[in-house]
């Protein structure tokens, strides 16, 4: 089983695909769940406090906007943990949405820096492309080892 970072990190479909093929998806659900299950509920909706953008300084300098650093405090640890990644470019909002373009550029860069296996795909625009899309993901995940669904 490999730990696979998914992009968009909020994509439930992508997360489900990775889990179905026997791997551990690393996405928003993990890091956000950790935050909102922590004691107290001081800063709804995500329970991110001003401390989190400071943790984000590990991945982005102080002149980088606080929203980028706050996001990096969620995704940075997951990137460090990742053994592989699937990146879907220009995906539809309904497939998964990552709010900040600057954060997105940074985290894709950091993933590529790691030298881990990465599958980069464009979001499908037709049924045929959709079939090829899922087949590509399946083949990539199979190549990482683990059980098949």
């Amino acid at each position: 089983m490999a730990k696979v970072f998914i992009y968009p990190a909020t994509s439930l479909m992508l997360s489900d695909l990775v889990a179905r093929f026997g791997h551990k998806p690393l996405g928003s659900a993990l890091s956000v769940r950790e935050h909102i299950q922590a004691g107290g509920f001081d800063s709804p909706p995500l329970q991110i406090t001003p401390e989190d953008p400071k943790k984000g300084l590990h991945w982005a300098a102080v002149e980088v906007p606080s929203g980028v650093r706050g996001r990096m405090s969620l995704y940075g640890p997951l990137i460090e943990e990742a053994e592989a990644a699937i990146i879907i470019e220009e995906s539809d909002f309904a497939f998964g949405c990552m709010g900040c373009a600057r954060t997105n550029e940074l985290l894709i860069f950091l993933l590529k820096q790691k030298g881990i296996p990465i599958l980069e795909l464009s979001y499908p625009k037709s049924q045929e492309e959709g079939i090829t899309f899922v087949a590509s993901i399946k083949a990539f995940l199979a190549g990482l080892g683990g059980e098949e669904a």
Binding site: D42, S43, P44, P45, L46, I48, T49, P50, E51, D52, P53, K54, E63, V64, P65, S66, G67, V68, R69, G70, R71, L74, F93, A94, C97, M98, G99, C100, A101, R102
Partner: protein
């Protein structure tokens, strides 16, 4: 009990900067609630496309679609808060354009702000208070004449001011540097009453504003305790006799600066905040002190000088003072240095704050710094317009308070 004012939140990064709770708390403190305008995925695709600003960040696309929903009336709100991360260029473009778009296409009051993780509810409080006042008290803000005998007290960070008005005329004034808040307030109230030839029993209604408004409001049992954004804009258009149509009010204060775009005496968009001390009235006080002149002499001195030959443009009061000392040591005249200091403050307010509001003529400068002619001239040159400085401009908050307080006389009688 009135229903809470509903403030639509159009932001990018607030939740991830850890300031969402601060925004909500600031709203709660003034009996308002923030909410995200609900839109469908279809609306998001269509509205963002029709707006025509092709930004990359989906959260900014969402903010644009939400703004369209507010302007077209698909979602109802009483006011709008636009916010994004400080230092994000993409968001700054969207923030400016959305503010302008909402201001031009609706009557919703708008405030925009760029936050960091250090932004607190206290920083946002005055802005939220102004938003709720505009939404809740439009009838009160529409008042154009002062009636009866009223008093306004402005407890500012540097000075405390008091005005007594009777039948639409100023009949008493009081002015003191702010030391102990209540003592300074008592002194200006006594001075203004003495000048007016009245006693406290003659006063029919009282309004307070400024940093110490809550404390002195309670002390004086005020009828109106109001933040300075709405009060100052009201006072400015009243004294400048520009109550109808557009106007822009600029107040460079001792601790923070305000720029307010006004329509028919009611603020539409506004910005407030200290940039750094190098762009405040405090820097001009320092300059006067270093030049060995009283602050009242700085303006006339600056009018005799030319700023161009003296390099001075620091946000920081320490570096600004350093430039000042260097210029004097290099042989610059006090007149030129005074002019450069005025230009430096005006330029920074122009660059940092006036970009956040739509400058529409007439431009009115108020507050104590508006008496420094060199500063008014420098601002006029930057904005390429003739700036109006109304009479009693240093009493703007107190005058606005006294004017608005007269709206409470009839209510009391009822």
């Amino acid at each position: 009990m009135s229903r809470p004012v509903r403030i639509a939140q159009l932001t990018c990064g607030a939740e991830y900067s850890g300031v969402q709770n601060e925004i909500a708390e600031a709203a709660r403190a003034v009996d308002a609630e923030v909410f995200y305008p609900d839109i469908s995925l279809r609306d998001l695709r269509r509205d963002f496309g029709s707006f025509g600003l092709n930004v990359k960040s989906p959260d900014l696309k969402l903010a644009i679609a939400r703004a369209e929903a507010l302007v077209t009336g698909k979602v109802e709100a009483d006011a709008v808060f636009i916010g994004s991360c400080f230092r994000c260029a993409e968001a700054a473009i969207v923030r400016t354009e959305l503010r302008r778009y909402i201001h031009m296409n609706s009557t919703l009051p708008v405030v925009s702000y760029s936050f960091t993780e250090r932004t607190t509810s206290g920083t946002l409080l005055t802005r939220m208070e102004a938003l709720t006042t505009i939404a809740r008290r439009r009838a009160l803000l529409a008042r154009e004449e002062q009636t009866g005998i009223t008093m306004g007290v402005d407890s500012g960070s540097s000075t405390t001011k008091c005005i007594v008005m009777k039948d639409n005329e100023i009949i008493g004034t009081g002015w003191e540097p702010t030391t102990e808040v209540l003592r300074s307030s008592d002194k200006v109230v006594a001075d203004a009453l003495e000048e007016a030839g009245l006693t406290m029993n003659d006063i029919e209604a009282i309004g307070t504003t400024g940093y110490g408004r809550f404390l002195i409001g309670k002390h004086l049992n005020a009828d109106l305790i109001q933040e300075e954004l709405t009060v100052n804009s009201k006072g400015a258009v009243y004294l400048a006799d520009t109550q109808h149509g557009p106007a822009t009010v600029i107040d460079i204060g001792g601790m923070d600066n305000k720029a307010i775009s006004v329509m028919d005496g009611i603020p539409g968009t506004f910005t407030m905040g200290g940039i750094c001390a190098g762009a405040s009235g405090r820097f001009l006080e320092m300059t006067a002190k270093r030049l060995g002149v009283d602050i009242t002499e700085l303006g006339p001195l600056a009018m005799k000088g030319l700023s161009a030959g003296v390099p001075m443009n620091s946000y920081c009061i320490v570096f600004g003072t350093q430039s000042l000392v260097n210029a004097l040591a290099a042989g610059s005249t006090p007149e030129d240095v005074a002019a450069a200091a005025c230009h430096s403050v005006a330029e920074q307010v122009f660059e940092q704050q006036l970009q956040e509001v739509d400058i529409r003529e007439p431009v009115i400068m108020v507050g104590g710094t508006s008496l420094i002619q060199g500063l008014v001239r420098a601002m006029g040159e930057l904005l390429q317009t003739e700036i109006i400085v109304p009479h009693h401009s240093q009493y703007i908050g107190a005058t606005g308070s006294a004017l608005l307080a007269s709206g409470f006389i009839d209510r009391k009688k009822e």
